[in-house]
Each structure stands twice: as structure tokens, then as C-alpha cells.
Symmetry: C3
Subunit: 152 residues, 3 copies
């Protein structure tokens, strides 16, 4: 179980770091072959409303999404910084929750809070590594400006 | 010692997660039977001034406090997000410090930094679990608006 | 490897905590005898521009720097809070990356985001402890007001 804690922390840290580095194809590789990635306002989730802001239920779909983002970002140049807080490891060690804050810095050098929320991940063991089977991102707000700008 | 690190992280993560989920009675259960919970501006603490913003020296008192908060929150609807940074484990593993940032999101969907500070916890071993015997919350500011809105 | 994770987390947590406590001489002691400490805007780093905002390549130089900061801070009184996110441990366990957010609170009690960025550390084993041999701080912005106010 101790090893799980370390591996879970490593996976989460890598998840944030690879987005911040813009290494989106390495980031994609953190997901299992069969995977799901969703962004939902927490309010919708709490009320059982399924309307997701982003919904990808395969790695191919997620890859398309990333390609679109990279194109869009040519017109919205910024950098991201994910600060992921201590995770809560549930049940069998393969269900994880972690709070996050994402900051964005624009070309004028201004850094702003972009979003806060909670990751709810289902992981799977893939050889020596953990991979993400299901990532549910509960955003604290429904009012994210220019949401397309980056994966969370 | 490694196990302690994991268990301490788990306890802190659960502490923040349960507040953010509004599960206040499960949160209360993280405290030992005999416990103390205080919120102090760090400036007061550094100067040795005892004036606490919140002071509860029993779980019953903390429970009363929570009940009052739930009532007050009917008029101040918001959600919280705790991002707890890496903890510093002192001495015997039962004294812990961890920095935190708390964000609040209001009904218009605006997310703001609410408070930053430091947890200073004394823990105790209670069967298979760690419980909080003494939680001292040092707030970086003395100027918290609507402090009553949520436990930190 | 698990032990490394714990020790790395402890070192990072202590690093932030000692700055926030203003214990700069204990903080200096986290560095190896032969050490380097640099602050660079990430943009410069990404483009291979070496221009550092702060560059110290010995502990004596870092100590001078700290002494100057303490002098300057008599005129810019504030407190700091480092929230350090989950670290990414690379290679042999002695290369570490961790995202951070630093908040400052002024004398009026206002808390503001001061800076976000990434630590990239090379560590070394020094008896029972880890020490910092090389700390590269990549700031997300080139536009930090009053950068001199505090070590990051």
C-alpha cells in the first residue's frame, strides 16, 4: 500500500508536469488503451446532470482533442502550471482523488488562477506502471473562460 | 517512518476532501475524542497573543460550531477547495505541518483565493488510524472576510 | 525507491516551510557545500537564454544574498506561504521536479498570489540526509514585482 501511495503520487505529478511542459503525446501515454476523460462542473455532477464540458471515451478521441487544442493555442499563447495537492487514495488503491489549482501565464507575463477542482481517477496496473482508465475532472466553476485552451 | 508519511498524507488529504464535499460529520470523525481546534492569525501566534478567531476544545464544541456553519451557509452559498501542499513531519511522526490554500467559488461561478496558511497538527494513533488531537490553523491574514463561512 | 519518495517530499516541504518561517540560516543548511541556486523565467530557459534573475554558485554567495534580502525586507514587510505540489522524481531519485505557488500577505492583511513556477533540483546524499546541489527555479513569468523580496 505504501508503494501504491508513491506510484499514485508519481502518476499525478507526471500528469500535471507533462501538460505544463506541453508534452501532450507523452501525456496521452499516461492513459490506458481503453479510457475515458471528462470535464464536468461539480454542480452538474452533484445534481446528476451528465452534461460534460469535455467528453472523450477513447484515446483516439482524446488525441483528436489534443490536436485541436494545439491548433487553437497558436492564437492564445499562454503557459500552464498545475499545482496538485495531496491525494486521497480510496478502496483498493486504484481509485484516487486529488484537488488541483491551475494557473495560466499570458504573454504579458501576468499569472492568474485559471481553475480549481478535483480529479477523480480510476487507475489500472499496466506492467510496471499505473495508467489512467477513467479521469473525471470536477471543475469548481461552470464559468471557465476559454476552456478549450488547455487540457486540465 | 515511510508508513507514517503515507498515513499522514492520507489523513491530511481526507481532511481537506471531506470539507470540500460538505461531509462535516465524517470530517468530525477525523478528530480524537479529546481534541482541540483553533484558528489564529499567524501574527498573533508569532507575538504570543492568544486571541483565537475560532477556539474549540472538545469534539462537542466543534460539532456545535459545524452545526452553526451549516445554518449560516444557507445564506452564503459557495463551495470550497482545499489544496494542501507537501507536509513536514516532525519528531516522532505525530507532529505535522502542512501549508494550504483554500479557494471558494460562489454562485456566479467565480473562484477566488479565500485563505492561505499553515496547519500545525498533533496526531495520535487510534487503532489502525491516525486521529487529530490538536489542530492549530495559522492564517496568513487577520483580515478574513466572512470567516464563519467554512471550517478551514 | 519508496524511501526516496518520502525523503524527497520531506526535503521539499522543509525547504518551503523554512522560508515561510523566516528561518533563512536553517534554510541555507539544506544546500550542499558546493551548490548552485538560480531563478530564471521559464521562457528564457526554454529558449536557451542563460540570463538568470538570480544566480548564486556557492553557499557563501547565497548567504550574502539572504543577508541582503533581510535588510531589504525591513522596508517591505510581508509574509510568504509556499504551497508545493506533488513532486516528480526522475531517474535515480536524485533529480526532482515540483510545481509551486507562493503567496504573499502584506501588512494590511491582503494575501495575493506572488509567483508560480517549477523547481528543478539535483540532490545529493549527505550522510542520513538529502541536500540540494543544484536548484533551478523556473518562474512562470518574467514580470515579478519586487523580486528581491524573498527567496523562492
Amino acid at each position: 500500500m505504501t508503494a501504491d501511495h508513491t506510484r499514485v503520487c508519481d502518476l499525478l505529478a507526471e500528469y500535471g508536469a507533462l501538460i505544463d511542459l506541453g508534452k501532450f503525446y507523452e501525456w496521452l501515454d499516461l492513459f490506458a488503451e481503453d479510457c475515458r476523460y471528462q470535464i464536468l462542473p461539480r454542480e452538474n455532477f452533484d445534481r446528476g446532470l451528465p452534461a460534460a464540458l469535455v467528453y472523450c471515451d477513447s484515446r483516439a478521441m482524446l488525441e483528436d482533442r489534443i490536436r485541436a487544442l494545439r491548433e487553437a493555442n497558436k492564437y492564445n499563447i499562454h503557459t500552464d502550471r498545475h499545482v496538485i495537492g495531496l491525494p486521497r487514495i480510496l478502496d483498493d488503491g486504484l481509485a484516487v482523488e486529488a484537488p488541483f489549482a491551475v494557473y495560466q501565464t499570458d504573454q504579458e507575463g501576468e499569472t492568474r488562477l485559471f481553475a480549481t477542482g478535483l480529479y477523480r481517477d480510476q487507475l489500472e496496473i499496466s506492467g510496471p506502471r499505473l495508467k489512467i482508465r477513467d479521469k473525471l475532472i470536477l471543475l469548481d466553476t461552470f464559468a471557465i473562460p476559454s476552456l478549450l485552451a488547455t487540457p486540465l
